[in-house]
């Protein structure tokens, strides 16, 4: 978050709110989130389905505008507020300075058009070049993202590409106009692990070569750890914890982050390690729990946590680590010490001094 990039951030999202009116009530998809990304850095946004992570990215590109969403807050890209920009001005930025890669490459490529033609279209939407020049650029980009024999491949249809190649083609399309910011929304979720490793390596290489900033949205903590300099964890439309990646994974502060880390088996841990699921299910974004939205699923919640809504605050001693949790910082520290040494939430509570918490 506090990138060492220096200078003003490339993208700064301030108190962004996105709400969708529906027949059942208002969906609070994004509920006041703030983050920033510097040039050449990678922000990972981690969350489960329905946490609002994709809606935040789509809103950056104005892609939620047509859906009757009410949008509040500011999205500052190089100082310009994208929320208030006219559609025409936003179109000049979208696909040009900011590009996006979606999860499912098969449904994001048009099945009737050749891959090359789709790339050419994206190039000529923003640049006044001849189609021959655009075609050269398309072939060059397909080569850059590692598609073998790009000149021939440009004349193929999406169905002739494998899943990994389609995602490479999507990335090529995102890169056509040398974007400053790449939004990658679950870019590897539909792919097998070995292909995922190829795509992640490709994104890292392109970032090094082209100096883009990347926002990678993922539900996979492993992907976030591999890719991100900074990580924001989202739950029920809010950022509940944000920190530089090494800090977030070594000293997580939020019970939801603990829950995520302890509910997945790891390759490095002992084979018989105990999985501690987070009880319950993610909440409805129409009728959100009162107080701390996580309290119904939090093993450490106190009675007043159902009343008080926590704000994102700096963790004492680490100004670039923020958490929205009502537990005492020292209590959180003791709980995580217990949890990270393999204790269950109940045992951790007992060892960390329940009386103090419950009292």
């Amino acid at each position: 978050m506090n990138g060492e990039g220096g200078g003003p951030p490339l993208l700064r999202v301030e108190d962004l709110r996105v709400e969708f009116p529906t027949e059942d009530g208002i969906v609070h998809a994004v509920d006041g989130i703030t983050y920033q990304v510097h040039r050449g850095r990678t922000l990972g946004i981690v969350g489960e389905s329905g946490s609002g992570k994709s809606v935040a990215a789509l809103t950056t590109l104005g892609l939620t505008r047509g859906q009757g969403a009410s949008i509040g807050g500011r999205i500052l890209f190089e100082g310009r507020d994208l929320v208030t920009l006219a559609d025409r001005e936003l179109r000049a930025i979208r696909g040009n300075e900011i590009a996006i890669v979606f999860q499912d490459p098969l449904s994001s490529l048009h099945p009737f058009y050749r891959v090359g033609a789709q790339l050419i279209e994206a190039i000529r939407a923003h640049r006044d070049v001849s189609s021959a020049q655009a075609r050269e650029r398309a072939v060059e980009l397909l080569g850059l993202v590692g598609i073998p024999d790009p000149r021939r491949r440009a004349d193929e249809f999406p169905h002739e590409f494998s899943g990994g190649m389609r995602q490479r083609a999507m990335i090529a399309m995102a890169l056509v106009n040398d974007p400053k910011l790449l939004l990658a929304d679950e870019p590897t979720t539909a792919l097998d692990v070995t292909v995922q490793a190829q795509i992640l390596a490709l994104l890292e290489r392109l970032q090094r070569e082209l100096g883009m900033a990347i926002v990678i949205i993922t539900h996979d903590l492993g992907v976030a750890a591999e890719m991100a300099d900074d990580v924001a964890v989202m739950y029920a439309g809010r950022i509940v914890e944000t920190a530089p990646a090494d800090l977030l994974f070594s000293r997580p502060e939020h019970p939801y982050t603990w829950g995520l880390l302890n509910s997945i088996p790891t390759l490095a841990g002992p084979r018989e390690e105990r999985l501690v699921p987070i009880p319950g299910a993610p909440p409805s974004l129409i009728r959100r729990p009162s107080g701390c939205h996580f309290h119904p699923r939090c093993p450490y919640a106190q009675p007043d946590h159902a009343r008080i809504d926590p704000r994102l605050q700096a963790v004492p001693g680490t100004p670039n680590h923020h958490v929205a949790c009502l537990l005492e910082p020292r209590m959180r520290q003791r709980l995580w010490e217990q949890l990270s040494s393999g204790r269950s939430p109940d045992e951790a509570l007992a060892a960390a001094g329940v009386s103090e918490v419950r009292g």
């Binding site: 292909v195 995520l260 997945i264």
Partner: protein, 371 residues
């Protein structure tokens, strides 16, 4: 008052006892366990590729499963791992006889079930049940949860009185952690994790010996996955189930399984006890899979990692000899000429490779051997 309807038939042993000694090699040595529950021999499934609409000509075949042999021992969990299109789900469907094999044999409980039909097939099917990946499409949205879970009773003409069925279903719901009062609700009223519990309850209704879980958690949110994994482990312990666990997530398989079979393009390339496979994989494909898994630890994961080159070849036209040789970093001439047999590589594991990985190579590709 409510009798537990899901005691395992034949398992008169105390309920509380731990899962039968399972890890492959041990189970094999156990005289009491007798023969494996499932024996798969040279199993082949080819799906014909045709051209033309009225006059269909056969132009080839997708060789989904192309000669696999393995055993599933009683009480163990066998993991089937591999990437999309490697044939793991087809293998499961062949074991269940949801597909008819092109060649080869499946023996279940000592009997060849490959060519069973009618009532005898139905009787075998009662002993094996499956939990599917997608809890949204595998439950009929127009039926109540009660009737979904009771469906196996209807199919197999069990528990015919209405009251008896309801009691059995409610007991099952309680066993899998659902509120029995929700008997009359519809699937859409449940979350993904709860729906997967419904799927597990339905599978357990007829007290199967074998449970196949085909990617049971990959459609679920991260925080929910552990709920279903823990449920499957608990059910296995409680009812002495034999579990075939299919997944592409290697960490999950390591956590759940006693033995693991790694598949690539319709073949098993490595099989053995989970400790052996994860600690010291010998097949370069297993090594590549393990090194590709992202690790939720930034200090460990910033490492250069070798990537498999190219894409998965088409299973309609797999490479000759060793199928992995086109992408294998260790491939030599021999690999393109001579198919490596699945042979013993120590510690109870077998791999099909002429030039198996060494410890040094493993360290070089960044696979962290766990203890």
């Amino acid at each position: 008052m409510r009798a537990d309807p899901v005691e395992q038939p034949g398992s008169s042993a105390g309920e509380g006892d731990r899962r039968a000694p399972a890890a492959g090699a041990h189970a094999r040595g156990l005289a009491g366990a007798g023969e494996p529950l499932v024996q798969v021999r040279d199993l082949v499934k080819h799906f014909p590729l045709t051209r033309g609409i009225v006059m269909q000509r056969r132009i080839g075949a997708v060789r989904a499963v192309d000669g696999v042999s393995f055993d599933v021992h009683r009480g163990e969990t066998l993991g089937l791992v591999g990437e999309t299109g490697c044939g793991k789900s087809t293998t499961a469907k062949l074991i269940m006889r949801l597909l008819d094999p092109t060649a080869g044999e499946v023996r279940f409980d000592g009997r060849d079930i490959t060519r069973l039909r009618g009532a005898r097939l139905k009787a075998v099917r009662r002993e094996m049940q499956i939990v599917f990946q997608d809890p949204y499409s595998s439950l009929n949205p127009r039926k109540t949860v009660g009737s979904i879970i009771a469906e196996p009773y209807a199919i197999h003409s069990l528990k015919r009185s209405k009251g008896e069925r309801k009691r059995a279903v409610q007991a099952l719901m309680e066993t899998v952690g659902l509120n029995p009062e929700h008997y009359n609700r519809y699937p859409h009223e449940f979350s993904g994790g709860q729906r997967q519990r419904i799927g597990v309850a339905r599978a357990l209704a007829v007290k199967p010996k074998l449970l196949i879980a085909d990617e049971p958690v990959s459609a679920l949110d991260v925080s929910i996955q552990a709920q279903v994994l823990n449920l499957l482990s608990e059910m296995q312990r409680r009812f002495g189930l034999t579990l075939v666990f299919i997944a592409h997530d290697l960490s999950v398989v390591r956590h759940m399984c006693d033995r693991v079979a790694v598949m690539y393009l319709g073949k098993i390339v490595e099989i053995g006890p989970a400790e052996a496979i994860y600690d010291f994989p010998r097949h370069p494909y297993t090594g590549a899979l393990l090194s590709a898994v992202p690790v939720a630890d930034p200090t460990a994961s910033r490492r250069p990692r070798p990537l498999l080159s190219g894409d998965l070849p088409s299973p309609a036209n797999p490479p000759e000899a060793c199928r992995f040789h086109t992408r294998c970093p260790k491939a030599q001439e021999r690999c393109a000429l001579e198919e490596p047999p699945l042979e013993d590589k120590g510690r109870g594991a077998r791999a099909a490779c002429h030039f198996p990985l060494t410890r040094e190579e493993l360290a070089a590709i960044g696979v962290r051997s766990a203890r």
